[in-house]
Every structure is written in C-alpha cells, then in structure tokens.
Assembly symmetry: C2
Homo-oligomer: 456 residues x 2
C-alpha cells in the first residue's frame, strides 16, 4: 500500500483539478436544455476512465446514458467482483442568485470545493475512481474486479437503471455494491450506513352525510365526520408514542446492545436540533433515543388532513367527509405489504357505525438491513478507520433509497453505503460543496476498501 499512498499524496491536487473539470458539466437531468451536456458529461467520464486504464462504455437508454467503467477485461472472473454505483446527473442549480460562485464554475474556498454536484454525487464516486487509478497507475494488482455503474437519472427518478440492471444481470453479478451517496456526521465520525427504513402509504376517508349540511338545521343529530376522523386517528398512537395496531411491532428486530451503543456515538445536540426545526420539545417512542427514533423505529405519520371548508372566515357546516393521508416508516424486518394490510383492517374496525369508511392502499417499500457484523461490513469499517483515523459510526437511514432495493431484488446482493457528504454540504441547495479533506480521505478509504473486501 506504500506505493498507492505515495501516489495519492503526490496526485491530490491533480485529483481536485480533474474533479473540477468533471463538475464544469451542467449535467442537470431534469432540464431538457441540458440534454447535450448530459451526453457530453457521460462521454467525458468514459474517456477519463479509459485514460486511467478502465474499459468503459456509454450505454444508450430510453433517457440519459449510463456509463460503465470496469477493470474486468484484465482478469477473467477469477477475482471477487464488486460494483460501485454513482450518478453523474445533478439537481437544478436554481435559485442562482443564492450562489456565492457560479454553480458550474467550481471554486475552492477554505478547503471546500463549491459546485453543483460536488458532493451529490460526482465528488463521491470520483473518489472511488481515483483509488482505482492509484492501483492501475502504480501497477499494483487490484485484489478484486470492479465495475463502476454511473447513471444519469438519479435526480429524476428515471427507470433506465432498473431496465439496465435487468438486462445486464449476468455481467453485473457481484459480491457486493458500494454506494457513496449518503452522509457522515463529521470528519471524526466516518460512517457505514447499514439499514434503511421502509415505507407504507395509505389514505383514510370517513364519509358522513351525502353533502355538506347546514349545522343549524342538522347539527347535533348526526355525527361530524371530521370529529369521527379525529377520534379514530387519536387512537392510533398512545401516550408513550407507541403505535396501537395489534401486531404492528411483531416483526421488528430488536436493536442489539451493540447497535444501540453505536447509535449513541452519533453526534446529536438536542438544543440545536430543536432550534433547527423550531419545535418546543421533542416527542418520540418511550424508551428510545432521538437517534433511534429517527432511524431505527417505525413511525405513523399523518401527512395531510382534509375536511369541509378551508377558506377564509367560517362556514357553518357539518362536512360531508374527512380524510387523512398517512405514511408509516418501517424497520427491519417489517413487511410493508403486511403492515399496510393490518393497519387498514384496524382502521376499518375503529370506524364508528354512523360512518362509511374507505381505506386506499398506497405505495410500499420494504426496510433494508445488512448485518454490521458481516465480513464485508467489517472490511468497510476497517477501511473507514484507516483513512479517517477515527472509529467509524454505524448509521441507519430514516428514509428509503430505491437503488438499494433494486440491487437487492435484481442482483440479489447487499449494498454498503459509505457516505462522504457532510451535513453542511448543501445537497440540493445553493452553494453545494465537498470538503476536500473528506474527498482526500475518501480516496484513501476506497484504496483500502478493495484490499479489505478481497480479504474478507
């Protein structure tokens, strides 16, 4: 590794300059005026990969192209194979007036490189590419085969990647996927994200009278649907913050003492958190910490309420109906479809006999977990520690990441999320940046990763 370390140290400035070149492309997938920039960016990436010594291809899709860059031609499948996923498309840069420097004219200020896409996601996957470059340029044998799969539709939820995965299942068969597209708390807390929450959506509509009624003429003799809905929803969560649906927690894997200890290490400042959100105090399921509440416990949220008159002033009616949009965040090993079924059943049971009820089932995504004690996870943690010089933390993500589901379902493989974005990197906002120290250590981490993965 000495040769590689030296190469990285010597070429650090070159890497930053190359990243700047990559960031100059306004590869905004959502804006059709940037279609040609998307193609140019994909071509540049492929060409850059070739200059390192990778076999590259720009694949046409129904939308923006997908770029693959692979070491595989050098071996013949004798080494373990890993995928690195990333995306070269970026969020629209607007509002432009809030940027200190132009979003596509990258600028270094105080150790940060500012540009749209700097950390989401060009800088993050570019770090992995630079690590491979170090192996190839120093003629150090790569202990595994790698394929970079860099798409152009992540920010627009395009379906090109899914088709591509299905079509190229065989070529993409691998031992694991590495994705650097999440976050880390700070430089002292490099992180492996090992679990994601799932989601289940439904809509409840309670129907009373066949039209809005005059509350003077009818009010008092019929139940008010908005009150009936309130009473129903009030019963869904008890005073300890527990969801009351029988069986709701049956399949939840208990957090191990190890996991809880790890979660406790994630920096969390309650005062700052409350200030950031403007809330008077926190509220969460009894017996768990805020870090656990947000990432490792299931939730029941009302996303929207609708009933009756919502305009200016008042209107003296008994509304005809009241409805609520609901989503639940789920944790391993809850099954989203099953949860949706038992919650819908329970809600129907709670409907008073005066009312009709309609429960419409919405989208679902299962939660995801990969054991933080598995071989590859341990190898990832070891690589993080080597590069950052601090004990890494284990993160759970509170939301879903669809690609992880796709890799699991189509390629039947686990994903290791090694995020290189800091909380203040302004993802999706003006003045997006990447911390150049994180970029540098990220490259180093990746260089260790392939060695550690191969040995795992």
């Amino acid at each position: 590794m000495k040769q590689i370390s030296d190469y990285l140290e010597t070429n650090n400035q070159k890497f930053v300059e190359e990243l700047i070149e990559y960031l100059r492309f306004p590869s905004v997938s959502a804006q059709s005026k940037h279609k040609i920039d998307m193609t140019n960016c994909a071509q540049w990436l492929a060409s850059h990969g070739r200059s390192i010594g990778l076999k590259t291809k720009v694949h046409k899709t129904s939308g923006h192209p997908i770029v693959t860059l692979t070491t595989k031609q050098k071996t013949n499948g004798s080494k373990p194979h890993f995928l690195v996923y990333g995306h070269y498309d970026v969020q629209p840069p607007e509002p432009l007036e809030l940027w200190t420097s132009s979003p596509f004219a990258p600028e270094v200020r105080k150790g940060n490189l500012f540009a749209r896409g700097a950390s989401d996601n060009k800088g993050q996957h570019f770090a992995h590419l630079k690590a491979v470059e170090a192996y190839l340029k120093t003629n150090t044998e790569l202990p595994c085969d790698l394929t970079f799969l860099i798409e152009g539709e992540e920010e627009v939820g395009g379906e090109a990647l899914v088709s591509f995965l299905k079509k190229n299942k065989r070529e993409l068969k691998c031992e694991g996927v590495v994705v650097s597209d999440t976050g880390m708390p700070d430089l002292k807390h490099p992180a492996l994200t090992y679990a994601l929450r799932g989601v289940a959506a439904l809509e409840v509509r309670i129907e009373g009278p066949n039209r809005d009624l005059h509350s003077g003429i009818y009010g008092g003799a019929i139940e008010n649907p908005a009150i009936a809905l309130s009473k129903l929803l009030a019963k869904m969560i008890d005073k300890n913050g527990r969801i009351t649906v029988p069986g709701f927690y049956n399949d939840v894997i208990k957090l191990s003492a190890y996991e809880r200890k790890q979660m406790a290490r994630i920096p969390f400042n309650e005062r700052n958190f409350k200030k950031l959100l403007g809330v008077k105090s926190l509220f969460g399921e009894k017996g768990f910490t805020p870090n656990e509440h947000r990432a490792a416990r299931p939730t029941f949220e009302i996303n929207g309420l609708t009933s009756g008159y919502q305009g200016e002033g008042s209107k003296t009616i008994v509304p005809s109906y009241a409805s609520a949009k609901i989503t639940m965040r789920l944790v391993p090993n809850q099954n989203a479809a099953k949860i949706l079924r038992i919650v819908a059943q329970h809600i129907k049971k709670l409907c008073p006999e005066t009312m009709k009820i309609k429960v419409e089932l919405g989208h679902v995504a299962d939660p995801y977990i990969v054991s933080p004690k598995g071989g590859l996870a341990k190898a990832a943690l070891k690589s993080l520690k080597s590069a950052f010089g601090h004990e890494p933390v284990l993160l759970r993500e509170g939301g879903s990441i669809p690609i992880v589901e796709h890799f699991a379902q189509i390629l039947k493989v686990d994903t290791y999320l090694l995020g290189l974005a800091l909380p203040d990197d302004n993802l999706h906002s003006p003045n997006e940046k990447i911390d150049l120290e994180v970029f540098k250590r990220g490259i180093k981490m990746s260089a260790h990763l392939w060695k550690n993965f191969a040995e795992a």
Copy 2:
C-alpha cells in the same frame, strides 16, 4: 269576527290574484340588473297598502328601499303597537331550466302557487296585509296599531335595516314583532317558533416544526401536528356526545317537561331523515331526541380541517401545522362570548407541550328565547289553532335569525315567529311555491292574532 270571516271567504280568490301581481316583480336584490324592479316592487307594495287604507312610505336607503305601511295615523298611540316584519326581495331564480313554470310568471297547480318569492317571503307577509285589509274594509275596529316593515335586502344580508331601526327607534317602539319567515311541519301542525340557537366560531391552529419535514429524516423524534390536533379534538366530545369543556353547560336552561312534550309532537321520521342525508345512523347527545338535538341542544362542530399535503398521491412529510375551523351552536341562556372564552381556554390547556397553539376567536350570536307561556305567545298559539283547526306545535330553530337579534337589541322587544312555509315549498330552490290553503289559513290566523294580542 263574523264580518271579517265573511270578507276573507268572499275575497280569497282576489287575494290570490293580488299576490300573483306582487310575485310578477322580479325583485332579485342580489342582481343589479333588477335594481329598477326592486324599486317598482316597493312602489307597488306601498300603493297597494294605500288602496287598503294604510299610510305608506318608501324609504330610500344606502341599498334597496324599505317600505313601511302603518295603521297608526288612525289612532294616536292609545292602542298597543305591533310590528310585522317581512321582505319583498327574493333569491335569484337560477337555474331557470329546472322551473316547471317561469319564476316570475306565477302559476297555480294543484292548490299551490308557484313563483320565486311565493313563500319566501312575499306570500307570508302578504297574508298579514290581507288580514288588516279585512278589518279596514269591513270597518271593524283594529284592536291594535300595526306597522309593516318590509325590507329589500334580506337575501343579501344588507345593513339598511339595522340603520333604519336605529334611526326610527321611537316610531317603531312596540309591544312585539311578528315575523312569518320560518316554517311549519305541515297543515296539521301550525307552529310558533319560540327559540333560536346562537353560534360561536373559532379556529385552532397547532404548530409543530417551522416547515414541512422529511418524514424519513425527522419522523419519529418530533410530534406530528396533525396527530396532536386529532388527539385534542377527539377530547372535545365524549362517547355520549357531551361537550367536555368544563362549565360549557352551566347556563343552559333545562328543557321543561312541557317543552319536551311539545317537541315530541313535531313530526320526525328517522328512516326518511337518514335516507335524505345518506347517513347510516344518527348520533346525538345521550338522553335527547333528534328533534331536541337539532334545535334545543348545543353542539360542537368541526367545519373544516387542514394540514400538510392534500393533493394527489402521497407526500412523506411531517406537516408544519394542522388547523381546524370550529363552530358551536348555543342554546338559551348560554352567552356566546363567554362560551368562546372558556372553550378557547380549554383548548389551549389541551395542547401538548411539544406544540405551539393559536386560537382565533370568530363571530358570535347569542341564542334567543321567548317564553312559550307568555301572554303574547299564548295569544299566537290560540290564533294558530283557530285558523288551522289543529293544536299548534312549539318549534325551536337550530340556526340563528339575525333580525330577531336586531329587534331585541335595538327595539328591546320580543319576536314571535309564525312561519307559513311548508318543508316542500322549495325555498331558495327552483319551483318555489306557497300552499294556497296555508296562505288562506295564514290570513285567518293573522286576523285572529291582532284581536288576541290586544287582549293578551
């Protein structure tokens, strides 16, 4: 009364023809194209009054004219004085295509006279005018002085009447006001409406985070404002349909056995009622009947609910706030302002400490009651019985009637509501009508009324 009865019998057909003439005016106060029709209608009414022998005047106002017709010039204040209130303006007739005969080309079919304004309100106050005519034309001494106060802005909530009452307080000083602008269940149930519910409005807004939050990143650690609002509202009414605010019922006058017996006489068919409203079953405060629920008991209604995302599909957020529009119907002797105060206080107390709450107080109207056992009430009931040949029922109205408040506040006088509209008279709807039998008996009732009032 023999002379009067004979006059009424002989002239019944003439009365209907005169009413038809009155109904031909398209006196639609809401539509500016009918401004001249409004004036013409007012002039016709005044002129008609003069032909009977009344002193009449058309008063200019800031809006449509007010017509007064009075017997007062004949006496010098030695007799008791009563007001008869009515309005010559009518609702817009649209949609015209739903009318069987043209709204301003009155037509008699099967004992009903169809025209816009037939029962709301031209026919109803015209009946009182015809009764006075009978006295005057038969040279029967009227036992009291009467002033008809017929306005032109009832259907548009105009303020002309209030100014007029204030300006002419002295001339309008009287022993009581008679208004025929409410309803009666059917010909066998003539009715005196002796109580009205009041109203008190407020809006509750529960505020959580300073913006809608990503439910994956934050969900679980902060309370959801829509759930907090549901829990709060759920506590406002108990399972017996009682409002839980301490002191809410303190000032409610208990329904007497006499009143409850009277309310039980009002026709009510639960099956038809449920079918009409499309509800599976009724729900009301335990221990009271649907007739009582709708007119004699206070209510707490949610008129509208608003929170978060209400568009198509779902949005995985913890909404920033949730709000509810609320109105309460109040009964004698609740004080609307006091109720608003104690309910707002109670709601604020129920707000969880995680949230901010804003309670905005809205409009109020006090409930109204005149004793059904008072002298004038008894005289009214006696008149109804004489004319209709059936024991009258005592009604309470579930809504408010602003003019009653105005008479009470400005003239310090009680109002006796002797409605001559049947439930199927299509008020405010196409094919409005008045039942000619009700019109005939209404005139007779009025003829008795002045005699009975004077003797009370």
